[in-house]
């Protein structure tokens, strides 16, 4: 179980390969990657603020919950903060388990919690101005299934 919060880019391919290679007994590895998306056109950059200390604590707690709830051989969460350009990877989650249902469920659980319970805030800077990304009702609702 590994959690990293960093401003530097991460190498998704190397992280995913390293994670998969380290999973003894796993038959299934699921990864999720979030990418800065230019939804409206004209996005210059995304700025991600976080709450140092609480972030690491919240992510570690989520990962521990996932490990306790599903039969996992491992879980990895990496989340960036700071300034990101469109197309850059914001974060990744990886889970590994003997069976695919556990790996999928744990990855979705981690993503749902990460969206609404980890202290990150996204701000979009476009040619027209800047604005904080609003939380989506469906992200909050997604937590109900766990």
């Amino acid at each position: 179980m590994s959690v990293r919060v960093q401003s530097e880019p991460f190498d998704f391919a190397a992280e995913a390969a390293g994670f998969a290679a380290a999973q003894a007994g796993a038959g299934a590895v699921v990864t999720f990657t979030g990418i800065v998306r230019d939804t409206e056109g004209g996005l210059e950059r995304m700025e991600i603020e976080h709450y140092p200390g609480m972030t690491e604590r919240a992510l570690s707690d989520m990962a521990a919950q996932a490990v306790a709830r599903w039969s996992l051989t491992g879980a990895l969460v990496i989340h960036r903060h700071g300034v990101l350009a469109p197309g850059e990877m914001i974060m990744m989650v990886a889970t590994a388990a003997p069976h695919r249902a556990d790996a999928f469920a744990a990855a979705e659980f981690l993503m749902d919690y990460l969206k609404s319970r980890a202290p990150f805030w996204k701000k979009e800077v476009t040619a027209k101005g800047t604005g904080w990304v609003a939380a989506r009702d469906e992200d909050e609702a997604a937590l109900d299934r766990w």
Partner: protein
């Protein structure tokens, strides 16, 4: 008691600072919010709609009616948008 009070995202921008020390005798988060609102317009603006805010006590999410006894760090911020 003296609390470290932290602000994030647009709460930080509206109030104009990321953190400050606050001397208070408020019993709950709501009591603290009432005191802060009374300070200046920028605080009143930031705390105008509590349904748009979240609070963490010592880095754990909490409710606004939670007691402040024993708490050292209070953080106010909008709903989180990670991932």
């Amino acid at each position: 008691m003296t609390l470290d009070v932290l602000y994030f995202a647009w709460v930080r921008e509206r109030i104009g600072l990321p953190r400050e020390q606050v001397e208070t005798s408020a019993a709950t988060v709501t009591g603290l919010v009432t005191e802060l609102r009374g300070r200046e317009d920028r605080y009143a603006a930031a705390f105008a709609d509590l349904s748009a805010l979240r609070v963490a006590l010592d880095q754990e999410l909490a409710e606004f009616d939670a007691p402040l006894a024993g708490v050292r760090e209070v953080a106010f911020f909008p709903p989180m948008t990670g991932g």
